[in-house]
């Protein structure tokens, strides 16, 4: 179902959402720096950056999350699990790539053997309002990774910016709950034609040419390739690309303790960190940047595909934009093709 929301109705619409839900949306922390955050007022939202630095996964899988609290009394401990989500959530303003990425993490966290209840509860409690990318950046390559700037996949509602108004497409059951929303009105056929035109124009803009088809097979042959000796050279091993990646989902579990009371917390971790795979004995199966860079790329383009039938990259371009040394994953994908074909 396709409806329309006038932009001058956006604030009241968001206000009404805030009354009924915990609303998460991009918020600017400093000029050019934003994250997804729970908002108290519609004015906090800032959609200037196509994608905030930190991806929307944070709403479902916070960088730092308390798993349980404990308190010791004598020889016994009281434990309280922290998995409940108290209030239903709406995520407003996420881009198609980020939303795709959530379904990548679904594969792991909602896996058949064990279910990560922390992620699951947040996932279930959330309604996602995606926004189409009318002006994708030159670093965007979602069209190469199975998405596109107007991909509706994973959105419950999908907004298309027409300038003065949004087209609001209600896509799922959760989305259809907004059918009677008082701020939505019927979209005219002109509106829909305009939306169509914007979509066609935008979809041509992202790079669809990256050689990702067959990358798994190429990488199968490349585990011990000298390719890795060179590719990691300029990487300084900071975790920016992994921490800002919408699909990366590695974490570490730590106890924070103060005199018998405390909490078990999980924090995002990065395969580019030396300590990530270092064993207590000091042995490290991935001792240098070569193995760690290989792990990052193999996981995204080979292992993940083997396990779940899809790659773990959605082409958002964050790792390209924020890398301090301009390590460009697009270039690496192309070089994998070259190395694999030679």
């Amino acid at each position: 179902m396709k409806l329309k929301l006038d932009k001058n109705e956006l604030k009241p619409f968001l206000q009404s959402l805030i009354e009924d839900y915990d609303v998460y949306a991009p918020v600017e922390l400093k000029e050019g720096v934003s994250i997804y955050k729970k908002i108290d007022q519609p004015e906090e939202i800032n959609l200037n950056l196509l994608n905030p630095q930190k991806p929307v996964k944070e709403v479902f899988f916070p960088q730092s999350e308390v798993m349980l609290r404990y308190e010791r009394a004598g020889k016994r401990s009281q434990v309280a699990l922290m998995e409940e989500v108290v209030r239903e959530r709406v995520i407003f303003g996420a881009r198609p790539c980020d939303i795709q990425a959530i379904s990548v993490i679904d594969e792991v966290f909602l896996g058949k053997d064990y279910t990560d209840v922390y992620f699951l509860h947040k996932r279930k409690a959330s309604t996602i309002i995606g926004i189409a990318c009318n002006h994708p950046l030159s670093t965007c390559f979602c069209s190469s990774t199975g998405g596109d700037p107007f991909s509706r996949k994973g959105s419950d509602l999908f907004f298309i910016d027409l300038g003065e108004a949004y087209i609001a497409e209600l896509l799922t059951e959760k989305g259809m709950a907004f059918r009677e929303n008082r701020f939505f009105k019927e979209a005219s056929s002109e509106d829909l034609t305009l939306a169509q035109q914007i979509e066609e124009k935008a979809s041509k803009k992202t790079d669809a040419s990256l050689p990702i088809d067959g990358i798994e097979k190429r990488l199968d042959q490349m585990m011990e390739s000298p390719f890795w000796d060179r590719i990691h050279e300029k990487c300084i091993g900071c975790g920016i690309c992994t921490l800002l990646c919408p699909t990366c989902h590695c974490f570490d579990i730590m106890d924070e303790d103060l005199a018998g009371k405390g909490q078990r917390v999980r924090n995002w971790d990065s395969c580019l960190s030396t300590l990530y795979s270092q064993e207590t004995s000091g042995h490290n199966p991935r001792p240098t940047g070569r193995e760690r860079t290989r792990q990052r790329l193999m996981h995204k383009f080979n292992y993940f595909l083997k396990n779940f039938g899809r790659i773990a990259c959605v082409g958002c371009g964050r790792c390209i934009l924020y890398c301090p040394v301009n390590f460009d994953i697009r270039q690496v994908i192309k070089e994998i093709q070259k190395a694999g074909d030679s």
């Binding site: 798993m67 349980l68 404990y70 010791r72 020889k75 016994r76 401990s77 434990v79 699990l81 998995e83 792991v108 966290f109 896996g111 053997d113 064990y114 279910t115 990560d116 209840v117 922390y118 699951l120 585990m223 011990e224 989902h249 590695c250 974490f251 570490d252 579990i253 730590m254 106890d255 303790d257 018998g260 405390g262 078990r264 999980r266 971790d269 395969c271 990530y276 795979s277 270092q278 064993e279 207590t280 004995s281 042995h283 199966p285 991935r286 193995e291 792990q295 193999m298 996981h299 080979n302 292992y303 993940f304 083997k306 396990n307």
Partner: protein, 279 residues
């Protein structure tokens, strides 16, 4: 829905130091709730995350056998924060466990076959579980010969010494003990496990081999098994990697596309050959 990160409460029933260097301690844990105890079913080779609130969690292979009901045993090498805490924990104290995790040894395959168990150092824990399980009166008839080769650096570093003495007396189990360096009272073999294996030359016919030990020992044992004509599919080993979640979510313990915690820790040599040498 069950939260897979919630530890099951247990209590330390007994604890003892195993080795003369005092670096290895075995703790025996009992379930606090009977229900937990009954629903906890495992096979040898599986592991648990032991959890001490305030210190954290670490994975350990289960050293006791499923046939030893009512409690679980773990042998802990003192190395980091959690293991140190496990060395200091007193009898009667509460401890959490998550598990059983991982796949365990393929005991179904062993039915009707001979089993060769090769262990080194403190990695002998899950092998103890396996040996106790297979040699239990209920199971003994299900497998053929059981041969155990177990080595340590020094006699004092061998685990489960009293049990080893008992096993030596058994006639339905062949036990070969070896140390890298003997002492005045040591009467067993002196030599490295791969060499002792070569010398003992057990037949590979109808036999499965299970190896667990330090990486260097495992590395040199594989070729000896090859020479004895063990096919790759009939050699199993248990891998060790840094783990956190134990359920295939947190990353880090993968070898290629497989996760040691979820798809392992037990792998056949045939499987390992296909995986990247990333361990």
């Amino acid at each position: 829905m069950k939260n897979p990160y919630l530890p099951i409460p247990m209590v330390v029933k007994k604890a003892c130091i195993e080795t003369t260097d005092r670096m290895l301690r075995t703790v025996e844990l009992a379930f606090l709730s009977e229900e937990d105890g009954q629903s906890f079913r495992f096979i040898p080779g599986q592991f648990c995350e032991l959890s001490i609130f305030g210190k954290g969690e670490a994975p350990f292979g289960i050293a006791s056998s499923p046939t030893e009901k009512g409690s679980l045993k773990f042998t802990i090498n003192k190395a980091g924060v959690v293991t140190t805490a496990l060395h200091h924990i007193e009898e009667g104290a509460e401890i959490g466990i998550r598990g059983p995790l991982g796949n365990g040894y393929p005991i179904d395959l062993f039915e009707g076959k001979n089993v060769l168990v090769i262990g080194g150092g403190f990695a002998f824990t899950t092998l103890r579980s396996l040996i106790v399980y297979l040699s239990h009166p209920k199971n003994r008839s299900k497998v053929g010969d059981i041969t155990v080769i177990y080595g340590a650096r020094l006699p004092g570093l061998l685990l489960y010494k009293e049990e080893l003495l008992e096993w030596e007396k058994r006639n339905d189990l062949k036990l070969i003990l070896t140390v890298d360096q003997g002492d005045e009272v040591w009467k067993g073999k002196v030599g490295l496990v791969p060499n002792v294996l070569e010398e003992a030359a057990p037949s590979s016919e109808n036999t499965y081999a299970v190896i667990c030990g330090p990486p260097i020992m495992v590395k040199f044992t594989f070729p000896k098994l090859m020479a004895l004509r063990f096919p790759n599919e009939r050699i199993f080993t248990s891998l060790e990697r840094r783990m956190k979640c134990g359920i295939g979510k947190c990353g880090r313990c993968n070898v290629g596309h497989l996760y040691v915690c979820k798809d392992g820790p037990v792998f056949s040599y045939a499987q390992l050959e296909k995986l990247p040498k990333d361990y």
